[in-house]
């Protein structure tokens, strides 16, 4: 595994873990401050427990590469599943944004009041993390194809 990939993976993993913690923190805070909508370093954290678990899962898996041997299939598996999940989170969040936007458009169309802040949906850890994960996933799939999914020669 190329060292640059390893570095990128660790950074991405760290990113997810940090924002997972921030999400959790936001969630705790939301009990004391109603309608809490925090943002850290430009990214919005909804204080949603579900986000917390998802970000945590991806972060743990990617970051675990620090403890693995580089040419072990185990490390590669973590990279594959972790980056894939990161991309899935990205896609899901984009779907949600599209749906919310569409909902808002429809409601205004029929005369009801609605507004939706696109930035709030896009500037999120899920999206940014997903963007970071995409090259990792691409690399992983490429390597697998090159070795025809036979990892004994990794």
């Amino acid at each position: 595994m190329r060292p640059t990939i390893l570095l990128l993976t660790l950074i991405t993993g760290m990113f997810y873990l940090i924002y997972a913690t921030l999400e959790f923190y936001s969630w705790i805070l939301s009990f004391t401050i109603p309608d809490y909508g925090g943002s850290w370093w430009g990214l919005f954290c909804q204080g949603d427990l579900g986000w917390f678990i998802s970000l945590l899962a991806v972060g743990m898996i990617l970051f675990s590469l620090t403890f693995k041997r580089l040419n072990d299939y185990k490390g590669f598996s973590c990279l594959l599943v972790g980056s894939f999940l990161g991309v899935v989170l990205l896609v899901m969040q984009l779907l949600v944004v599209a749906a919310s936007f569409g909902d808002c458009a429809f409601l205004t169309l029929i005369g009801e009041e609605a507004e939706y802040n696109l930035a709030e949906g896009l500037l999120t850890p899920m999206v940014v993390g997903g963007i970071l994960s995409t090259p990792l996933l691409a690399y992983t799939l490429n390597t697998l194809k090159k070795h025809r999914f036979n990892l004994s020669r990794l």
């Binding site: 898996i61 899901m92 949600v96 909902d103």
Partner: protein, 686 residues
């Protein structure tokens, strides 16, 4: 067997058999063109599918047998398959063998051939086998087994035409029983002896069944065959002879005879594999291995599972939201005003608008949520993840007195309880199945959601989301709690063993996902179309009539007039029951109709307060306090499953359990609501 009928058409009966998860249903659909009659095998809740295939002058009636690994007498599925083959005597059995797991699949093939039926083997998923690094010489295999072996890739249709041709060819052939497995000198001697006794002693029996097969089964102590032999004139003598023979053989072999025979079969299969399977490359680690390493990891496994669940929720509620709003507008504004604009008599107008459109509309609004959650789950199932999720969560579920396989029914329950209860069929252990089936209706389904949204919106304006979430959590919490209670009292037997095959991960097929989703959604739609429709009309009728006669739809405008209607009477009589909770007659009436279908609670309340559903916030805020409102939501969550679900519980578990569910849930709901109010008042929460 075959009967020549009009125009020289030849009719044949075909059974489709195979292990679970081998693509049997896909091939069945390919053969029958997707059109099949679906029912149940008599006396059990196992699905039976029958279809038709016409090739030239040949007409084949195709019956789909349940997925089985062998033909013993130990499970309902196996007995169904076996009895069908023996009693109905199909002309051909199509055995779907998964090339990617060929050793295990051939066990069934051998068992079928031992029964003496004509078999055509469809060697499915040959592409997957190739991916896993090996290739099967189907000509050699066909030679050794003595039956046609057709390689297929069901998902692309490859090999299906050849399969059909093979069916035609084999239908013309005579029956031929081949002895494949040699059980060894001593055992074979006994088999011949027993077989001869049957042929000589009871020719009718040996006509009906293959005598060698009977002999083998008797030596294996097959309970079903023993039962059949007992009815024969030579029954008792034969059985005692067999018993002696078994003892003798077991002494010689030094082990259990049944075990020995299974070994011999596998030994024969090994020979088959040696001759017919070529390893192209040895793959120490497959893609499935890699993914499973992470997915079943001690540390990663559970967070991953929760992530999958969370994504399912997000997809089902956030992404489906615009569709819900569109439907809401369509029914609530568009259709409603449209109906009112028709020149109809006042009461008809009101019936259609306030009764039907409002009632049914309030249900269809949630259709996108239900469909989306079912799509996501079907997707996870098709990929193969759900079995891993069950595996990962099993440890925790056992502490909660359920099993890993209980996960799917409970998750499905979030969309609609009905497919949730039906999904309990996959749980093999009877006690586990019953317990899961009894607590599944406690899971908060989409029908209860409107109640939460409206009530929480009225009384808990800021923390609406959190309150609604707490209801879902409460549903699960009480499901686990009651599972524990049932396990400790009524179903004390230890939980069944967990044995599950984990198939390799595969790319999902849109067709499979959509079919599965439709299967689950259609029950909800059926309910909407019938029960809810009827209940909405009923509520309307009871609102415009009363003990004093017809009151006109003016009741929807005039509250005092409404109190004189049947609904008012009903509400007031139930009011006393709910007095300790502080719920008035309108709430009581709404709860009553909620029994029939929980979806109508909100629409009934809207009628009773004489407002549109959006404006319910006002009246609700004045009739409830936050405490009584929360207790009300808990009550709606827990009290009685809706009528449709109750009917399913009766179908799956039996009438006794349906009644039991009804009773225990009412008691539980009442008790919980009362406790919430009691504790709340103590804490000074009003």
């Amino acid at each position: 067997m075959s009967s020549g009928t009009v125009l020289a058409l030849r009719r044949f009966k075909v059974a489709v058999a195979g292990n679970p998860n081998v693509g049997k249903s896909v091939i069945f659909n390919e053969l029958t063109g997707g059109r099949a009659w679906v029912g149940n095998w008599p006396g059990v809740t196992v699905e039976k599918k029958v279809g038709r295939l016409k090739i030239g002058e040949h007409i084949f009636e195709v019956v789909d047998l349940p997925g089985i690994y062998s033909l013993t007498a130990y499970s309902v599925d196996e007995l169904i398959a076996r009895n069908f083959i023996v009693e109905e005597k199909p002309d051909i059995v199509v055995d779907i063998v998964n090339a990617a797991n060929i050793e295990r699949n051939l066990y069934l093939t051998i068992s079928l051939l031992e029964m003496g039926v004509k078999v055509v083997v469809a060697l499915n998923m040959v592409d997957l086998a190739r991916e896993q690094g090996y290739e099967i010489d189907e000509k050699k295999l066909s030679e050794m087994l003595g039956v046609p072996v057709i390689p297929t890739i069901a998902t692309t249709g490859y090999g299906i035409e050849r399969l059909k041709e093979a069916l035609v060819k084999v239908s013309e052939e005579k029956e031929g029983y081949r002895k494949l497995v040699n059980y060894g000198g001593e055992v074979e001697k006994e088999i011949s002896k027993i077989s001869r006794r049957i042929v000589e002693g009871d020719p009718k029996l040996s006509d009906k069944y293959n005598s060698r097969w009977l002999a083998v089964k008797l030596l294996e102590k097959d309970a079903d065959v023993e039962g059949k032999i007992r009815l024969s004139p030579i029954g008792e003598t034969l059985l005692s002879y067999v018993s002696e023979a078994r003892e003798k053989l077991e002494k010689i072999l030094g082990k259990d005879l049944e075990e020995y025979m299974v070994e011999q079969r596998y030994s024969y299969i090994s020979k088959l594999i040696e001759e017919c399977v070529k390893i192209l490359e040895v793959k120490p680690v497959t893609l499935t291995d890699m993914v499973d390493y992470v997915v079943t990891h001690k540390i990663f496994g559970i967070p991953l599972m929760f992530t999958a669940l969370y994504l399912a929720f997000k997809f089902a509620f956030d992404v489906a939201a615009p569709l819900c709003d569109i439907i809401d507008w369509f029914f609530g504004s568009f259709l409603y005003s449209l109906v009112l604009s028709f020149p109809l008599a006042g009461w008809v107008s009101s019936l259609l608008a306030d009764g039907v459109v409002a009632g049914v509309g309030s249900i269809i609004v949630f259709l996108p949520n239900i469909v989306f959650i079912f799509i996501f789950i079907a997707l996870l199932e098709d990929i193969g993840y759900m079995s891993r999720a069950a595996f990962v969560i099993d440890k925790i579920m056992r502490r909660l007195f359920l099993t890993g396989k209980s996960l799917l029914p409970l998750i499905l329950g979030i969309g609609c309880n009905i497919p949730g209860v039906i999904a309990c069929r996959t749980i093999e252990d009877e006690n586990d199945r019953k317990v899961t089936g009894l607590v599944a209706p406690l899971i908060s389904c989409s029908a209860r959601l409107p109640v939460y949204l409206v009530v929480a919106g009225a009384l808990f304006a800021g923390s609406q989301a959190g309150i609604v979430w707490s209801m879902y959590i409460m549903g699960f919490a009480f499901a686990f709690l009651m599972a524990g209670v049932f396990r400790k009292t009524l179903f004390k037997a230890p939980s069944g063993s967990f044995i599950m095959e984990l198939p390799p991960y595969m790319a999902p097929l849109a067709r499979n996902v959509l079919i599965k989703t439709w299967e689950r959604t259609k029950r909800f739609l059926f309910k909407a179309g019938t029960v809810i429709f009827a209940v909405s009309v009923l509520v309307w009728i009871l609102s415009v009539t009363g003990p004093g006669g017809y009151l006109t739809p003016a009741t929807f405008e005039d509250a005092t007039l409404l109190e004189q209607s049947w609904i008012g009477v009903l509400g007031h009589s139930l009011e006393k029951l709910f007095a300790p909770m502080g719920w008035d007659w309108r709430i009581s009436a709404a709860l009553f109709f909620g029994f029939l279908a929980k979806e109508v609670v909100v629409s009934t309340m809207a009628i009773l307060y004489g407002v549109g559903e959006e404006a319910l916030v006002g009246p609700l805020a004045s009739t409830f306090t936050p405490l009584t409102a929360y207790a009300f939501m808990a009550f709606v969550l827990l009290y009685v499953p809706c009528l449709a679900t109750l009917a399913i519980v009766r179908g799956e578990l039996g009438g006794k359990y349906a009644v039991f569910t009804l009773i225990y849930e009412i008691l539980l709901a009442y008790f919980v609501a009362l406790t919430i109010i009691g504790v709340g008042r103590l804490l000074g929460l009003g």
